[in-house]
Amino acid sequence: MAKDDNGAEDVTAADSPGAQLATSAASTAVVTRDALANPGFPPHRPRITDLEHKEERKAERTVYTLFYVSIVGSVFAIAAYMAFPIVAEDPGSVRLNNLFIGLGLSLALLAIGIGAVHWGKALMSDHEGVDERHPVRGTEPVRARAVEIFQQANEESGFGRRTLIRNSLIGALVVFPLPAVVLFRGLGPMDQDPVALLNETMWKKGVRLTMDPSGTPIKAADVTLGSSFHVIPEGLSEMGHGRLEEKAKAAVLLIRMDPDDLIETEDRKSWSYDGIVAYSKICTHVGCPVALYEQHTHHLLCPCHQSQFDVENHCKVIFGPAKRALPQLPIAVDAEGYLIAQSDFTEPVGPSFWERA
């Protein structure tokens, strides 16, 4: 008990409940003996509605009129629900339905609100009240009793004394949620290797480049100079299950440039066809589609975080938070003149991940 008393006194010294609310208390505040005194409350100023009966009547009329207006608004909203039906394939009817139900409800709500506030401000007593504050901490006897209760509980249970019981209980309580954590393993697929999946796409040798979203194969001869195509692999548009997952990796941008403008490294010279190049459309930053092609600069722009890629130069990053160039899809032309892939991408597409090397 003596220990507790000391503890309490320490707290009291720093934070004495009696004086703590006073401005002159401890810590680093400078106590000015010469400070100006609080003048107390200014005299109460009556409102116009207190002074003039006519104004009071007027305020009363305003308040009940507003409440009646609110009823009108609610009824109007119900009427609008019936009077402005939604007509199939007519977006204008949706707009009217939205507008008039909304206006009716707005009127109903605002009139209640403004009426109630006006009532409170103009008619209800405007004499301010004063509540006393007390220190937030409990009073000393209450705190002492609380300590006593904990001590009693400790003695009666032996929580502090029977350490084996206590520690084993703590251990059990720590371990028991773990199975729940393990259960959440089921959120992810059991039979998939994420790294393997991220490393491959639908593209493989001989797969035709087709238009997104129609799936029409593209002839090299149809790709005019300066044009760009949004491309998906042949067969993707007919896929049912897993279509979006494949598309999120396999989407490609096809661009035809003047071969003289292309600066190609030796090992990739065979990856393009007569100035036609194909690059992954999935940004190497966080995976947005790099869909904006600036024809005259040959730059690709990701609209999400403004990474820019230079198509002339193997889609290297020239600005923005991305680090890696867009992966290039090696392409060729088959016997019928259609563009085909030579292989899958030679590196994982899309955002970086830990296991990517």
Binding site: V94, G102, R133, G188, E245, A291, C304
Partner: protein, 549 residues
Amino acid sequence: MTTIITRESAEDQGVGVKKAGGFTASAANYIDERTSISGAVKELGRKIFPDHWSFLLGEVALYSFVIILLSGSFLTFFFQASMAEVVYNGSYAPLKGIPMSAAMSSTMDISFDVRGGLLMRQVHHWAALLFVAAIGLHMLRIYFTGAFRKPRELNWVIGFILFILAMAEGFTGYSLPDDLLSGNGLRIIDGLIKGIPVVGTWVSFLLFGGEFPGTDIVGRLYSLHILLLPAIIVALIAMHLLFVVVHKHTQYPAAGHTNQNVVGYPVLPVYAAKAGGFFFIVFGVVMLIASLFTINPIWNYGPYDPSPVSAGTQPDWYIGFADGAMRLIPTGWEFVWLNHTYSLNILVVLIVVGLFIVTVMVYPFIEAWITGDKREHHVLDRPRNAPTRTAIGAAGVTFYASLWAAASSDIMATHFHLTMEGVIHTLQATTLLGPFLAFFIAKRVCLALQKKDREIVLHGYESGRIVRLPGGEFVEVHQPVDEYERWKLVSYSDFKPLMLRPNAQGKIGPAEKVRAGLSRWFFEDRITPVTQAELNQAHGDHPAEITDK
């Protein structure tokens, strides 16, 4: 017998003020005998709440949340949180026959086939935007007036968690319709998660139930959005308000206001009328906005597809600062080491934004440590009277605003005909340097305002009237402030920095040195409040004839 006792007890508690046996009296008596509610009415019915417009910001947040619950409940009756593919066959002609998820299709039906459905969707979305905005402004009010000081530090933390949860609610809700724009938002989240070392790839697969986008995410976000997060928010709001009752509300410095009292209007009737009415006003304004202005027109975006995207994509406003931070990272912050990829372009964003928001959360404890102030504070600081705190706040706001602006870098570039690079480089500079500049300016402005206050207390307002004294001298007439107005200007404490004191072993540890240094920095350049002696002296300087009479 029983009846008699009942009547007596009703009269004892003052419930049956009307004639005994009246309906209100009997009903009140019936309820009280089963709930003891008269005790609550006695404790809370005349509880005093101070009045100030800035105290309404928290109310706006609370009321927006109620609006969100009401409109959201309506939406759940129509929305299908499923990514099963369906072919859209609703009223909106341009998307007819297009395959999309059931989530998108049902959201389209809410918008185009349910009368009032679009209205409720827009009420829900506008109220959500307002919810986060009101919490943010409420936090700024709390911060700049020092309302987070003892005993309210824990309530600040609860409020901060609510702010984070509100953003989480916003983001999960935004993603539910499975439209093109929200799908791109999820794609960014996927990319962010994949950039986390060691666990990123697996966390992404667990979240999406396999490869992005999968067919699970909408259902999972739905559980979070309508069950888990709202339950936590409701519990925390209850705690938040309970603490307001326990602490009693703070008040601004004014004549008659002290640290030991709280001055304002009683709950019944004035506060109930004003606050209750204000709920309807907030609801009405949200309703009006929702009936006049479109928000999130998913029919223009179409269903999610990983390939198309439109220019000028932007998240909802409250995610902007995080999105902007990602745009400000310079090119090339990523490297491979020991066969693993380190995505600094993502990690730095997560760490910096994380540190920033954690600093906001623990600020009350940092300031209490620096100032060594252990008193309870119930009278608010005018921001100028805590110059260093206000300056820190200004720096934080500038930092946040720079990140936020960066989320619109492309829009700024196209609208003002600037280069994308120029906008980004400028915002990189304002993010790094702006806070220092804002700190300096805000602190100087605070000190200048404090000096102005002193000037007004000592010499009165400049009235603009010039008079010529008998001796030929021209002076401007100064109008003295009355004592009530004066009290607002002088009622603040002057603080001295903490002194370095050796501990029991006679040693001064490094932590104490840091603390004393920070305390010096926090309290340097103080303007002390006017004292009585100074006031007397000043009045001696001014003969009666030059005060306006």
